[in-house]
Subunit: 105 residues, 2 copies
C-alpha cells in the first residue's frame, strides 16, 4: 500500500447538520470554512490529481470536538474557528507539510 496517492492531501470537512441536540459542525461555520478552503486551494493552483482535494463529508462522528476536518492519507484531525485557522492549516500543513499542533485534535 505504498504506491503514490491519487491526491497528495485529501481533506474532508464534516458538514453534518443535526436537529436533535447533539452539537454539529454545520452550526459552527463548517460550510463557510469548506468553501473558503476550496477557493483558496484553487487560487493557489493546488487543486487536482496528485495535489489537493477539498471535500464535503457527512458526519465524521467527532461532533463534540467540532467543527472538524481530517486530512488523509496522513490521518490528521483538526478543529478550527475561522478562516484564519483554515489558512494556517493550508499554509503550514497542505503546503508546508507540517502539523499545526495548535489546532490538532
Amino acid at each position: 500500500m505504498s504506491e503514490k496517492q491519487y491526491y497528495q492531501h485529501h481533506v474532508f470537512f464534516c458538514l453534518n447538520h443535526r436537529e436533535e441536540g447533539r452539537p454539529c459542525c454545520a452550526d459552527k461555520g463548517a460550510q463557510t470554512a469548506q468553501e473558503h478552503a476550496k477557493k483558496r486551494i484553487k487560487q493557489l493552483d493546488l487543486s487536482g490529481q496528485g495535489k489537493v482535494r477539498i471535500n464535503k463529508a457527512g458526519c465524521l462522528d467527532r461532533c463534540e470536538e467540532g467543527p472538524v476536518l481530517v486530512v488523509y492519507p496522513e490521518g490528521t484531525w483538526y478543529t478550527y474557528i475561522d478562516n484564519e485557522d483554515i489558512n494556517e492549516i493550508i499554509d503550514v500543513h497542505l503546503v508546508g507539510g507540517k502539523i499545526v499542533e495548535r489546532l490538532k485534535i
Copy 2:
C-alpha cells in the same frame, strides 16, 4: 505521522449528484451501496473509533470511473456494481486487510 489512526479504515462513498451531463455516482446506486455498507459494518460490530467508519462524501472528482469509494489511510480506490461487490470490499479489505484487485481503480 505514524501514530495510531482514529479510524483503522475510514471509507468515503461519493454520493454526488450532477445535473449537467457528466456522469455521477448518485445515478449509479451510490446511496444504496453506502447504506448497505454502513448497516453491514454495524452488524459486524466494526463501527467506531479504532475500527471502521463508513462516510458520505461530496464529489470525489473521479466521476467517469464511478461509482467510487476510497478507503483511508491506505488510499485505496474502488468501483463497484452492487452489494456483492461492497460485501467483498468489506470482507477482503476492511476485515481481511487485503486489496480487492478486481475492483480497484
